[in-house]
Amino acid sequence: MSWDDVCGKSNPGVRLSVCLGGVTLASPVLLASGVWPMDPSLWPVQTLRGVGGICSKGLTLEPREGNSGIRIWETPCGVLNSIGLQNRGVRVFVEEELPRMAATGIPVIANVAPAGSVEMEPLLAPLRSAGASVVAVELNLSCPNVADGGMAWGKTPEGIREAVRAARGCWPGPLWVKLTPQAPDMAAAVRAAEDCGADAVVVANTWLGAAMDLKRRRPVFDRIVAGLSGPAVFPLSLRCVWEAAEATTVPLIGSGGIASWENVAAMLLAGATAVQVGSGLFRDLDLPGKIVDGLAAYTASSGFGEISDLVGTGRKYSEYR
């Protein structure tokens, strides 16, 4: 199965491809970091229809075994996770995992989670050596599930600037920055990323939540807090995308709660160029295909020829505030 097979077939007449900060993808629907196996032999094939790219698990310099205790907890229309960046480290990724993923023909985006600026160069060096197999680096400034780096960085424009500058210095290719919705000012956050050279900004990672175990009379998660995703958060992430689009011209990638083509259309109307689908796959392995079908029909019925013509069309309304 090649990239051409999995994208674009079902919707003649409407062009699905999008251009995203220097990268052209066959579809605006990406698989979000952390929900897709690094081993293609495990990939449910039906999910690949409509997928424009796949984000790797959050990669760290050294292998990590992730968090102890319960890692997944269901909530109303959502899910809390506390995985804690379990991964085999960037070198195993480049040597073993990436070649197999890249061989499928589907563009791979490397999601990296440095613990601090000093880790940036050693973390990105192996990816540089991987050449064209990595179509973009997605800098994760937003993981709520680890104590070091991660979200703390992404909450302030200063932290974002420091991290993006460091990454920009050692990654010449397309650089995406994944923000945290815990950033109190989305506009400032996205501008900080733009100023320091981000080619696209992902809005956003999971929302900080918690759960209590009434039987054990303690927090469900060993780290107490965890990241909320799923349909529950969609109205929140859509608002973040709206605010980000208000502040930047850098392409935006919407993420958070997408579970239907209508959600994606809303994201595009609000100003996103592409989206990432994460927990939605937990419920529906056909989601990407359904999204591109629905989007193509909506695009056509709106009188447009390309999905990307939808981008920002919901922003013309100006009677607000």
């Binding site: 495990l42 990939w43 075994e65 205790g69 997944i72 907890w73 996770n81 995985i83 379990q86």
Partner: protein, 269 residues
Amino acid sequence: MCSGTVEERSARLVARTFLGGGAARERGPLLLELDAPEIAAKSLPGQFLLVTCGEGSDPFLLRPLAVAGVRGEVLSLLVQVRGEGTRRLAALAPGSVLRLRGPLGTPFTTPKEAERLLCIAGGVGAAPLLFMAERWGGSVLLGVPDASWEGLVHHCVSRIGSSKVTVLSDDGSLGEKGNPCSFLASEKGSALLAFPNTRICACGPTGMLAALAEALPPSLPYEASLETRMGCGYGGCLGCVVPTERGRLRACVEGPVFAGREVRWHELG
């Protein structure tokens, strides 16, 4: 390249049988029979499915359930009602359509010709073991709390024959009084284990599985199927990991069947 065998498909519920007695009826276990030819054909004992338990996004996650048997195109599940999801599942009328994702996970090891299979089940943990015993022969040690589980016992007996099933109940109201661990410590139990070339497969409460890992003679191959919370079921989210001697392994890919002595039981919640 992308050779994944996991599929997600719609399946019609063709029959629902309540096995629980009296007041426990609604709690289960229930036998659900689904028309799912493709998934049934690929499923092996120890593998499981993720199953929707209703429309809408609440409950959001699919529920993991072991494949409890395959007969032609019909796949069966044994469900105990524990929370909202299984309650909804149990309330679905025959004719309803579910989404099934599977088959998932690594099955029990296929016994070698010379091996004699002993399946140790706690309650609804019987599900994968019935499939196992049906497919490969072998006997079943079934522990249940009390007489309200009579329906499950009958179901086991009807599927693999009464001579193959030893029943134990906590209160002695069904079969012998006791549980699989206490039974294996007894004379009769030791005799059972002393039989050469015995291979043990177990599924049930974590406490039982851990106790077995302690109690069983280290020479006996012992595999246990574990329960953990799951997100994706296909190895993507790492939400289902089990602490083992080889690190944190996914219950949905490397498991749910693990070498019993490899699991770090004391680290499990």
